[in-house]
């Protein structure tokens, strides 16, 4: 059996150079016992049901794991204690015993009024952080009256085009108390300006404005694809937001370095991890290039990963991520503060793993995915609604998704001790293995000259296109079982097809949004708008940090589309190479 050869390799390796925590006698005894066990299994005629068991990253899984598999792992060096380097077990000493993760449901549809109602509904039911989903028009920095906006306003998220929209979105919500994530990328400085201006207008002091702008410009070229500008100016804008935030908003996470969309676009967990950290490295380098000490900004960097249904692999991925980032920050960039080495992350359950057929099965899938995030030590979590593969969630499906987290948090007991899977031979082995594989990819990217260069060469894009195709082929060829989809197919019941879906009357949402836009334009001081936009144009041409100028334009009631229009003129627009 192939897997047995691996055991022997480990034993031989250990004989020469003993690094781990077990005594050599114990290791030798275990190796002998394991060999006998293996021979006995073969003699007894046990056969596996598959030729090979693989994780979603293609890592081969053995029959059983023992201390032999982690015999070269030093506990103190690789695992350690929670809250301490290398943070494998978690960034906090007591993790969820101190505070349950933030339950942060990604929400947005229709008008700001519609979404405001949904946000309050979720908070009433126990949501502890907000997360705004914008529509595609907003994500691309266009106003709702743009010709390309037809059919798109408010359908994939909420439409926000001005300070007024933002004000309505947060009506009767205490912006000094609750934290808000905004999934926004090229227009991140604009949306941040709207948010901060509204909070300030309500008397919230800057040190109490908390939340996150996703602002991960590089991953837009790899996944999600709501890029506007070419990679270099995009990176510049992202780092402008980081720079401005650390000076003005001590509680704000100016960036959420995101693997989620990379995974959703087709990456394996290992690729997701490697590409995300490689993006992170690029941002750190850019801030250092601007003259900042690493410890002055690194504590404000945050991350965002997918929680997939392959529970152990994703748990191992989260643990490896923390260990790798701590090493990168300490050893590559010389960070001294523990907080600079923390990989704080939000997780979202995978959407592509959900199915349109027999949609109620998704409730179970989401539960398993969410468990991976919590066993992996996430700081905040979004759980998808079961109707994700069909439409945006209804009030009912959104509540059910929220309840899933609360049941895990308060009924299951998994939050009662820190990193409960640590010490599992399999989990520790897999954490090591995922780390090893991810380093190989990071090395390759480093050899290309960093992630910006790699993206321009199309490297991550090609890699994930391949992985996505491979995964689909596995489903088609029944090598990957999806219950009710390619296996165990049964009669589809009527109430599985006719599930109530959220319907959005786009023409009326668009009309509503355009009406407010017109009212805003007719009530503002146009000369002031023109001045602030001209100043923005000059500043961006000079290569200055553009956020203060965007802020001034925003408070003079310039619209999202107007501000982004200025930047489009200066920086140009990106059209990607066709890779499939």
């Amino acid at each position: 059996m192939k897997s047995f050869k691996l055991y022997l390799t480990v034993v031989i390796f250990i004989k020469g150079r003993y690094l781990g925590d077990y005594s050599e006698d114990f290791i030798q005894a275990l190796a002998r016992a394991l060999k006998e066990w293996h021979d006995e299994m073969v003699r007894a005629g046990y056969k596996d049901r598959l030729n090979m068991f693989l994780t979603d990253s293609g890592i081969e899984i053995k029959t059983v794991y023992t201390p032999l598999d982690i015999a070269s792992t030093s506990y103190f060096e690789k695992i350690g204690l929670p809250g301490q380097y290398p943070f494998t077990r978690g960034i906090h000493y007591n993790m969820y015993r101190g505070k349950i993760w933030t339950i942060r449901q990604f929400s947005g549809f229709g008008t700001p009024e519609d979404t405001n109602k949904r946000l309050k509904y979720l908070v009433e039911h126990g949501e502890t952080g907000l997360s705004i989903a914008f529509d595609e028009v907003t994500l691309l920095g266009l106003d709702p009256d743009h010709p390309l906006a037809i059919g798109e306003v408010g359908v994939e998220g909420v439409s926000v085009a001005s300070l007024w929209d933002m004000d309505v979105l947060f009506k009767d919500i205490d912006m000094g108390k609750i934290t808000t994530n905004m999934t926004i990328n090229p227009p991140a400085p604009v949306m941040l300006s709207f948010y901060v201006a509204v909070a300030r207008s309500r008397g919230v002091p800057d040190h109490m404005i908390g939340g996150t702008t996703q602002n991960d410009q590089l991953k837009e070229f790899i996944g999600q694809k709501t890029y506007v500008f070419p990679p270099r100016p995009a990176l510049k804008i992202g780092v402008d937001v980081i720079e401005w935030s650390i000076k003005n908003l001590p509680k704000w996470n100016p960036i959420s370095i995101s693997g989620y969309h990379i995974y959703e676009a087709g990456a394996t967990p290992v690729q997701e991890l490697a590409f995300t950290l490689a993006d992170g490295i690029e941002y750190v380098r850019e801030m250092i290039r601007r003259g900042y000490d690493v410890d002055s900004f690194a504590p404000r960097l945050s991350f965002f990963f997918v929680a997939g249904i392959n529970i152990f692999e994703h748990v191992a991925k989260f643990r490896a991520a923390r260990r790798m980032w701590a090493k990168i920050m300490r050893d590559w960039f010389g960070a001294k503060k523990a907080r600079s080495m923390w990989l704080r992350f939000h997780a979202q359950t995978s959407g592509v793993e959900l199915r349109a057929i027999e949609p109620y099965n998704n409730i179970i899938r989401v539960t398993l995915q969410a468990l991976a995030a919590i066993l992996g030590g996430a700081q905040s979590l979004h759980t998808n609604a079961f109707d994700e593969a069909l439409a945006l969630p209804t009030e009912f499906s959104a509540k059910l998704a929220l309840r899933t987290q609360q049941i895990i948090a308060y009924e299951s007991g998994v939050a009662d001790t820190v990193d409960p899977l640590a010490g599992s031979y399999y989990i520790e082995w897999l954490t090591d293995k995922i780390e090893e594989e991810a380093w190989k990819i990071i090395d390759r990217i480093e050899n290309m000259g960093g992630m910006l260069e790699a993206i321009e060469k199309g490297y991550p894009q090609r890699e994930i296109t391949e992985s996505a195709y491979r995964r689909q082929r596995e489903i088609e060829e029944m090598r990957r079982i999806i219950v009710g989809v390619n296996a165990f197919k049964g009669e589809i019941l009527e109430n599985e097809v006719k599930i109530p879906l959220l319907e959005i009357d786009e023409p009326s949402v668009r009309a509503h949004q355009i009406a407010r836009l017109r009212k805003l334009k007719s009530s503002r001081d146009q000369a002031k708008v023109n001045t602030t936009l001209t100043e923005l144009e000059r500043a961006s041409s000079r290569g200055e940090n553009i956020v203060p100028y965007i802020y001034n334009a925003a408070i003079s009631l310039a619209t999202l589309g107007e501000i982004m229009g200025v930047l489009r003129n200066v920086y140009g627009e990106w059209s990607e190479p066709i890779i499939y």
Partner: protein, 151 residues
């Protein structure tokens, strides 16, 4: 002319000559995973595939379809704007007298919308989880039917 090897492949999958398919990402969303997989699968099945990339308008889709003389238009859309944009594609095809080119749609399309789209003239709507083999088979049928109509 196809190479000998290609002819063999085409023979094996029952295509008399290569059919041309436009795979277009209509609308503003960047969810291109499905479109790319379908484009790749069609290519592997012997079709000539023109993949437009993301953020295509109805006008761009129809122009590409006519310029490339395709047999089938495959539209992928996950932004929710399908009820506004797909009918516009159908209208433009009529306007350009190219409505002999069948249109298929895939993406996040609620069932009720799928029925409406079909009544407007969309040939097929493919939901998530539709096997690639089914998509390929349907597109092949539509392409064959169109070629026969032209002969």
């Amino acid at each position: 002319m196809e190479t000998r090897e290609e002819v063999q492949i085409l023979g094996a999958i029952g295509l008399r000559r290569r059919y041309r398919v436009l795979v277009a990402k209509l609308g503003l969303d960047g969810h291109d995973r499905g479109a790319k997989i379908v484009a790749r699968a069609l290519k592997d099945a012997g079709f000539e595939v023109i993949y437009t990339g993301i953020k295509q308008t109805p006008e761009m889709v129809v122009r590409s379809a006519i310029q490339e003389d395709v047999d089938v238009i495959g539209i992928s859309i996950l932004s929710g704007a399908h009820m506004a944009l797909v009918p516009e594609v159908l209208r433009l095809l009529k306007e350009y007298k190219a409505d002999d080119i069948p249109v298929v749609v895939g993406g996040i399309i609620p069932w009720d919308d799928a029925i409406k789209l079909k009544s407007m003239g969309v040939s097929e709507v493919f939901f998530p989880d539709t096997p690639l083999s089914h998509i390929i088979e349907k597109i092949k049928e539509l392409a064959e039917k169109r070629r026969k109509g032209l002969e």
